[in-house]
């Protein structure tokens, strides 16, 4: 059965800290991996990683796909209170349009 697992499930840090969120997957036909950020409303897209694009960066956020270890990390440097959110990892299998989500990591950044 296809599965995506995120860790930790929750995390509390202080402003300025660096955090690393983990996502591992077991998927029969992997096409891409997506990271979303969810504040109090709809998840918003952060990154898409594929076999041909295994590293992405946007400001203080960056993400890497490890195809050998079947995992991905999301790094946030110099965290701010506005980074407080649920971070969702999802995998797109190639044989279906249905995403497979992890449980999410709830990040709280304290002032």
């Amino acid at each position: 059965e296809d599965k995506v697992v995120q860790s930790p499930l929750s995390l509390v840090v202080h402003e300025g800290d660096t955090v690393t969120l983990n996502c591992s997957y077991e998927v029969t036909n992997f096409r891409s991996l997506l990271w979303y950020k969810q504040e109090k409303k709809a998840p918003t897209f952060l990154f898409m990683l594929t076999s041909s694009g295994i590293e992405k960066k946007s400001g203080r956020l960056s993400s890497i796909l490890d195809k050998k270890e079947l995992s991905s990390i999301l790094n946030i440097t110099a965290t701010q209170t506005g980074d407080s959110a649920i971070y969702l990892c999802a995998v797109v299998p190639s044989n279906t349009g249905k995403l497979i989500f992890g449980q999410g990591t709830t990040l709280q950044v304290k002032p």
Binding site: L88, V92, G97, K98, Q103, G104
Partner: protein
């Protein structure tokens, strides 16, 4: 700007009521999905649809039904609401292969009392 719109942000219903959650997308996407989101459990798929009048069960369809009479609209129906259906409900849409992921609606927080 492309959008997925859910009709209500917050909803309070009584046990036993029939509840309709509406979702409309303006992107001409073939795929539409309904999820519920609960703390510690992540997003769980209730139903999805690949085309008009087509529907398939997700992981937790019990107590729910759906309707897709038009391409842009996907409705979730709670036939007889129960307190364990209190949750955040998220609608999403995507292209047929879902390669670029989903576009989500803003969510409906449903409380059943």
């Amino acid at each position: 700007d492309v959008k997925v719109t859910q009709s209500s942000r917050y909803l309070v219903k009584r046990t036993g009521e029939k509840v309709f959650l509406e979702c409309v997308q303006d992107m001409d996407h073939e795929n539409m999905f309904w999820y519920r989101q609960d703390p510690g459990l992540g997003l769980r798929l209730i139903y999805f649809s690949y085309d008009v009048k087509m529907k398939e069960k997700g992981d937790i369809p019990e107590g729910y039904s759906v309707s897709r009479e038009k391409k842009e609209r996907f409705s979730l129906i709670l036939e007889s609401a129960s307190t364990n259906q209190t949750s955040m409900y998220l609608c999403a849409s995507s292209t047929p292969q879902g390669y670029y992921g989903y576009t989500f609606g803003s969510g409906t927080r449903l409380t059943v009392v």
